[in-house]
Symmetry: none
Subunit: 416 residues, 2 copies
């Protein structure tokens, strides 16, 4: 099946928001065994939208359009679809009733601008939207099916699955792409380890990408499972999961299996590590809590880090990271603890401790004696990147510890 | 100047790599005062590329194409450009010499496949590429200028600046777009408040978008400052800043001005609120730390929340939110404190406390007597959305409190 897609919105063509729909459609249609021929992005221009709909519909079996269904005057996709179909807009009574219900259940009255959203081209069909006010639209133009979905991803994605994906029967010989995720290896080394697997004339075809420091190898074609396993061996033990699996899910799963718990003591990450751990539903099963000790006073008062230690070694030091992890484990009665202390920047760096220097501490009380340690990293990137990489390195460090591996991680520095 | 852009590559249409070029072009051309009419993304298909080049060139003064200039057999942009121009490919001696030099300087011999890269359509011009092997191409088709650049961003961006941006004189009357951000108002109400400002035939043109619950009104055209101020009045007091300004920056700025400090006590957000506050460089000036009390035991042990209160009202209650905020302020010696306790889902919801129910507590010790309160919200969306909206609502709540406003916020529920 030949598919085309169209994203609409001035915020996209003016660069205020990155259009991620094209890439998302590409991935989903690839998994469904469909051929995404073309994706377009245009602004809120009624004539241009109508012309694009006509052109794309003429060159595909299915055209998916997103955006421009909102309640405001610059949302023109409904009108443009009607133009493309040569129809006028009519009020859809069911869509209107659904909108009124939605507003009533929230104690609000339907406004005139939201009422616009219940309109559809005469021979189009309204598609219910469980997560927002804008119904979708479905119509036929020539031999092509046109589906229009709202722009916000959390509204669009579920509608895509129910309206589009559920109706596509993957062809018998189509194998779903397998994505293998890893963390802690430079991209160039990750590629070298795969060697000839990356050659472009092979089947299955393997591609590597890096997004927010997470390496992903995508395997598409025939016999993907065997190649996926080979990649997991080559990246061992830094490959941590497939598909949408996150590091925090993997760590949570290990803790749940063991019936263990974890506590956190965060300085430079300011709560992000706890935030990441609790992103996983059910994390109350392994995470009781943590402290954010951003200032030195807090480190002393909440965790009992000795003032003398802070003075002698500085807050960003192996000693302080170790005490933070030990005290977090002790005070929360947790089996494991992770601590972070570092210089996220932009200020605060020095010759011996440049911006990006982070100590990540760990503590394991599951053995006969509590065992605490810390590892030093020098992360590249700005404040946001340093903090994100700290969180990911801490989770990978705990995962490797629990599994019994001692692998150095990317950006880990010699002990100093 | 009307501009169109085209990204080429099977890795884009198959979803292996996210096409970021469209968004990048959108931002750069907006800053240069050019009108990006349309961006397209197609795979490595010679006929489709040629057809897209012809169509886009016909509808714009400048067409920028990226990708498909590599040395391998699936790189077909050179051939497709020649097709679109109705010309054949010839070897460019200067481009070939530059390629041979590049390879020689690395001790490598030019391969036959790399030699292909020195070809250009007869009347096109080769553009030197300082950061890679693929030269760019420049040609005219009708009234349109076509520039073809290599796909890798670190090769494409410098060539864009030297070949394209440097030649564009921003028109004297070009005013930079102003973005006004707000939080806590539904999009439909935000639009109604702007009324005729949103009409499509006006100058300046105003558009509204919502990204992760943040409202942004973009004002582009002539006389943008006066209209931006009008929007800030209409959204008052929920408009909090312009451009890339974040809520956490605004709250941090207010605290810094006052010389005040803040502490946090988080349950359902698990550390995300502290993480957000410390995203701002210099936040150690107003944030000492916080606690993440995810379990009831932690709420009792770290914050002294009475067991009786937890039993009688439940952890997700006004009473518990108030005590958490008060105790955080007291234990950290902070002027203000924020607390969160709620049901982020997917499990844990009930009839009276559905998933999305969150109490946000506040405490202000700057007056003669400490003042603590809590507000109830029922946030729509999944776990990630509920937690993100909790953090933003807490920050907006504190901002309004410090400024002395008492505005209800979106998703705030009647007290029960």
């Amino acid at each position: 099946m030949r598919v085309t897609t169209l994203s609409i919105g001035d915020e996209l063509t003016h660069g205020a928001i990155l259009d991620r729909h094209g890439g998302w459609f590409a991935g989903r249609f690839d998994a469904l065994g469909c051929d995404l021929v073309e994706h377009r992005m245009v602004g809120d221009d009624r004539d241009l939208i109508a012309a694009s709909i006509r052109e794309l519909a003429a060159s595909s079996d299915l055209l998916v359009v997103t955006g421009g269904l909102g309640p405001t005057a610059d949302d023109l996709t409904r009108e443009a679809l009607a133009d493309a179909l040569g129809e006028s807009l009519v009020l859809d009574p069911e869509a209107l009733a659904a909108l009124e219900d939605r507003f009533a259940s929230r104690g609000r009255v339907l406004s005139e601008s939201n009422r616009r959203q219940a309109h559809r081209p005469e021979h189009a069909r309204s598609l219910p939207n469980a997560n927002g006010t804008a119904p979708g639209l479905e119509a036929r133009l020539g031999d092509s099916r046109i589906v229009v979905l709202p722009g916000p991803p959390h509204e669009m994605h579920p509608m895509f699955e129910s309206v589009i994906a559920s109706g596509i029967e993957p062809s018998a010989d189509h194998e779903a792409t397998i994505d293998i995720n890893g963390y802690g290896l430079p991209e160039s080394r990750a590629a070298e380890r795969l060697g000839p697997l990356l050659e472009r004339d092979r089947d299955p075809l393997v591609g590597i990408k890096v997004s927010w420091s997470i390496l992903t190898a995508s395997v598409r074609g025939t016999g993907v499972e065997a190649v996926a396993r080979a990649i997991e061996r080559h990246w061992h033990p830094l490959a941590y999961g497939r598909g949408a699996t996150t590091l925090e899910e993997v760590v949570g799963g290990l803790l749940e299996q063991q019936g263990s718990t974890i506590a956190t003591a965060e300085s430079c990450t300011g709560g992000l590590l706890g935030g990441r751990i609790t992103e996983v539903p059910g994390s109350s099963g392994w995470y009781g809590g943590g402290v954010v000790t951003y200032s030195n006073e807090c480190k002393q008062q909440l965790l009992g880090v000795p003032a003398e230690l802070l003075e002698r070694h500085g807050a960003v030091s192996e000693q302080v990271a170790v005490v933070m992890a030990m005290e977090a484990a002790r005070r929360f009665g947790a089996d494991y603890a992770l601590s972070t202390t570092g210089i996220a920047g932009p200020g605060g760096g020095g010759e011996h401790k440049p911006v990006g220097t982070v100590w990540i501490g760990g503590c394991d009380t599951t053995g006969d004696h509590p065992n605490a340690w810390a590892r030093r990293f020098v992360f590249p990137g700005d404040r946001t990147w340093v903090r994100d990489r700290t969180v990911k390195s801490a989770l990978q460090m705990l995962r490797l510890h629990i599994l019994g591996f001692e692998s150095p991680l990317l950006w880990e520095a010699e002990q100093s």
